[in-house]
């Protein structure tokens, strides 16, 4: 009976928030606050980035403090492709001519691929270590990319790139905030569904085992490095998609997207919502961005309050918002 009630609590939470998100543009119009649609698009995008981090952090136990690198690379991929498309110059002119593109069907998959590739390189190096080393190394590589883009004058350097317009998708007008919102919602929903299957699959079981004890997994015969690396790559690719979306949402990309504080904020979202739950980070992203929005109305110094709140969350509410909502026993599965 008890199990059942908790199961219901979790289902009710997920269904009601899905409903709320689905109806949000309508509610925003009714309330006469159309800017809510773009605020919530932003929430959905960060939710995607945070959920992708949860895959490696919550399930794999890998504390990456460089996740914004993949987010930023995804955004820059869209930005650079759009830049060349608008200027009608070549992205690559040798050995063969490759132009830019403003099509989401081209730019978004490329963004996923490029960030996944980068995640493979960074992962292959940083997964050789664990614990504190891993945290510092992921952080350092992300900062390396940050400085790389700062010094990349050809693409705006410090100032970043402004997109002429959002990407095109057949049959849709992404310039319309409501349509763009639903695209974000659909992509987040698809990711949560796929990731939910992933963590329950054989592959996911191996990842969860590695979180508990990597050595034990190896003694059972699992070559854990490959599994962890692939998980890192999947998470990086998904963060790249989130980056592609944020580039479209604000129609601007800059190195700031991959600054390490952005990585830390994505991490905060995951933990605020509850790690190892996939849905928790969505809640965490919503809570963080809404709180930022509300607090900054009252004081420009909202961080002076938010910092101690984070410390209190660590000390007293370790299971995050999702844990509080659904009961900590039933967070998983």
């Amino acid at each position: 009976m008890h199990m059942l009630s908790q199961f219901n609590r979790k289902t009710i939470c997920i269904i009601s928030s899905a409903l709320l998100l689905a109806l949000l543009p309508m509610l925003a119009t009714l309330a006469g606050e159309p800017y809510l649609v773009s605020l919530f698009s932003r929430i959905l995008i960060y939710a995607l980035a945070a959920a992708s981090l949860d895959l490696i952090l919550g399930y794999g136990g890998l504390v990456s403090l460089g996740h914004a690198a993949f987010f930023g690379i995804g955004a820059y991929t869209v930005g650079i492709l759009a830049h060349h498309d608008f200027e009608e110059t070549a992205l690559i002119s040798w050995p063969l001519f490759i132009p830019g593109s403003d099509s989401g069907l081209v730019a978004w998959p490329v963004a996923i691929l490029v960030s996944a590739l980068l995640a493979a390189i960074i992962g292959a190096l940083s997964l050789r270590t664990r614990g504190m080393h891993f945290i510092m190394i992921t952080l350092a590589f992300a900062q390396m990319l940050f400085f790389f883009f700062v010094s990349l004058e050809g693409y705006g350097g410090d100032d970043g790139l402004t997109l002429f317009s959002r990407n095109t998708l057949p049959g849709l007008d992404l310039g319309d905030d409501v349509q763009f919102y639903y695209v974000c919602l659909a992509l987040l929903g698809a990711f949560l569904f796929l990731a939910g299957r992933l963590v329950e699959s054989r592959f996911g079981m191996v990842i969860r085992g590695c979180r508990e004890s990597e050595k034990r997994m190896q003694s059972l015969g699992f070559p854990t490095f490959r599994y962890k690396l692939l998980c890192f790559v999947i998470a990086g690719g998904a963060a790249g998609l989130a980056g592609a979306l944020i580039a479209n949402q604000v129609e601007y990309v800059s190195p700031g997207l991959m600054h390490w504080t952005r990585s830390a904020i994505i991490l905060v979202m995951v933990l605020l919502g509850g790690s190892g739950t996939l849905y928790g980070p969505v809640l965490g992203a919503a809570a963080f961005l809404l709180l930022e929005e509300v607090l900054s109305i009252y004081t420009e110094h909202w961080m002076v309050y938010f910092g101690p709140v984070m410390i209190l969350v660590v000390l007293f509410a370790r299971h995050g918002l999702f844990g509080i909502l659904v009961g900590k026993e039933n967070r998983h599965g």
Binding site: S201, R202, G204, S219
Partner: protein, 249 residues
Amino acid sequence: MAEPLLRIKSLCKSFGAVRACHDLSLDVHAGEIHALIGPNGAGKTTLLNQIAGDLSSDSGRIFLTGQEITHLPLYRRAPLGLARSYQITSVFANLSVEENMLLAIQAHHGHSFRFWGRGLKDPQLLAELGPALEAVGLSERAETIAGNLSHGEKKQLEVGMALACKPQLLLLDEPMAGMGPGGSIELSKLIRKLKKEMTILLVEHDMEAIFSLADRITVLVYGEVVATGSVDEIRSNPAVRQAYLGEEN
């Protein structure tokens, strides 16, 4: 004489100035229960760790069924038929009992780069899950989170996971430690039953259990083999009596 299942030749391992094993040679034959005894600090667990691959060796060689495994990474040893239990139980504490067992079964079912089907609904894995839980008497506890099991149950689960790997050679590190008398008897029965299917290298302090279970015994003192032989030979060996059993009487 047939090739021994496990052959250890002149193995050495030091931790700084401390010699954990020195010029250690040992054969374990197929089908036997081979017990490893010795006072605390004799290097028994270190030796198991070296065989299993949790620790690297400074010098010397280890062969399993004639194949050298001295420098093989940890994860490549299980597929060759090596499984172990740890002295300090190391089940996956936040996973359920069935998930723990599932991982052990999954380990020898080819690669796990399968992303779609749920592990706990995979007919191939489920077919083995029931009997594997049954074998160690944990069927009733399948959905319990492993961290919430009693000490004895964790030990059972750990042995069960080692069995699920269907090893040729099973390394057991003090399986009886911390078990009540009832639990020890159950476990002895299980180990005796396993003997038909696999070779067992057993580290244990419970002398009664060892004398009743073992076919052969090796005595280690300060990382060196003092004697190897049958139960009777070891009981009557004066050097052993002095070095080891003498302490207990």
